[in-house]
């Protein structure tokens, strides 16, 4: 029987997640990117509710569908749990496009249209109609800059568009819930992050190191010390 390690990638799922932000490559990861989190999941937590559905404020219905499909492949849900869509990353992006990222609305529109054109050009079908494997292959080409070409219509390198969406998807999945994503702390559960707490006792530390510390499930802004727009990063 073959050694299982030879049938697996040279990079573990956890490594992919850790390296994705820095390396930019291999950002298509399973939702269980941290499949072996150091922290135990909450013993009696309710099943996470899905993020709210409905049209987005800043994108058309078709743009929303394409973006949703892309976000879904960046951190997909799987048999081990929810992914970026369930964590509300799409809502987070829409909210960001109304506020801090309003300058990026046009980049989204151009990029999503180009993604769909590239899919039709290279794979012969709209992005939404591709299998998950083909979606991943298309997104790899977009990520690596290979989707750049006359007529496809990315503004500059396709990789810039990919990195923008990836970055916002990460923020919407793993950021503080106050910003509109990470619904029901889904993202923090994926990472095994025990949550914000003002005090960590010796017992907490021991439980954390043993992977038994229950998640705090609190936003940083639930604490009086933190204020939105407080001017401190």
């Amino acid at each position: 029987m073959a050694d299982e390690s030879r049938d697996r990638p040279g990079i573990s799922r956890r490594d992919l997640l850790k390296s994705a932000g820095a390396a930019g490559a291999a950002a298509l990861i399973p939702a269980r990117a941290a499949a072996d989190p150091p922290m135990a999941p909450p013993a009696a937590s309710a099943p996470p509710a899905a993020a709210p559905a409905g049209p987005l404020m800043n994108l058309t219905a078709n743009e929303t569908e394409v973006l949703s499909a892309m976000v879904d492949r960046l951190i997909p849900s799987d048999d081990m749990g929810p992914g970026a869509l369930e964590a509300g990353a799409l809502r987070y992006i829409d909210r960001a496009l109304s506020e801090a990222e309003s300058d990026s609305v046009e980049a989204y529109r151009i990029g999503l249209a180009a993604l769909d054109r590239y899919s039709r050009y290279s794979r012969g079908a709209p992005f939404l109609e591709l299998s998950d494997r083909d979606k991943d292959s298309v997104l790899l080409d977009v990520q690596l800059g290979g989707a750049t070409g006359a007529g496809v219509g990315f503004a500059g390198s396709s990789g810039a568009f990919f990195n923008m969406v990836k970055s916002h998807t990460w923020q919407g999945t793993f950021g503080d819930p106050m910003y509109g994503g990470n619904v029901n702390f889904i993202g923090w559960d994926i990472l095994g992050y025990p949550g914000v707490r003002m005090r960590v006792s010796e017992d907490d530390q021991r439980e954390m190191e043993a992977g038994q510390l229950p998640p705090a499930r609190r936003s940083a802004y639930d604490f009086g010390q933190f204020q939105v727009g407080g001017g401190e990063d």
Binding site: R6, G10, I11, A25, G145, G146, G149, G151
Partner: protein
């Protein structure tokens, strides 16, 4: 010259014999089908080989562009731990490591290409320039059981002294211009 560069990097105690590397869809000196590039499905091409030297225990494949990379070559694909019983590779070796290798290639694993990814990613030469893609196949005298994710340099170092045969083919590619608006 691509072959010379490879040979210099894989100096062995004995001179490797040469064997034939072919493809049912590609020919040395001719254009690769677009399906092996981002202009198409971007799947790995089929390869076959014959005339392996006696004593071949394992094979390794590198696809590289000696006209790109800093320093060259730019690596598009690395596959190794290929059993000697395999007479070639089918089209579309899985890019997702969760997918199993095709029958007859059990144990084969992919190394890190120029993007650091353990998969095939095809040619996308800039503009309309024409680049040559060197598919080099190495016959090895040992089953090396190499770990996944090796870079080209790591693989060449690992197989140094075990190369008893080499074969290659070198098709080329130039990007097809995309239509002005591929939307139907």
């Amino acid at each position: 010259m691509a072959a010379a560069a490879l040979t210099a990097s894989t100096a062995t105690a004995q001179t490797p014999t040469t064997f034939i590397v072919e493809s049912r869809t590609m020919t040395t000196g001719e254009m690769m089908p677009r399906d092996y590039s981002p202009d198409g499905r971007n799947v790995s091409p089929p390869l076959s080989w014959r005339g392996l030297p006696a004593g071949t225990r394992q094979l390794a494949v590198i696809c590289q562009d000696h006209g790109a990379g800093n320093p060259p070559p730019w690596v598009h694909w690395i596959l190794y731990n290929i059993p000697a019983s395999a007479s070639g590779l089918p089209e579309g070796i899985p890019f997702d490591p969760a997918d199993p290798m095709p029958a007859g290639l059990e144990g084969a694993t992919q190394g890190a290409n120029g993007w650091g990814l353990p998969m095939y990613r095809g040619p996308a030469p800039p503009g309309t320039s024409l680049h040559h893609y060197h598919f080099a196949v190495f016959a090895l005298d040992a089953a090396l059981d190499l770990p996944p994710g090796l870079t080209r340099a790591e693989l060449l170092d690992a197989i140094d002294g075990h190369v008893i045969g080499q074969g290659a083919m070198t098709p080329h590619y130039s990007r097809h211009p995309a239509p002005e608006d591929p939307t139907p």
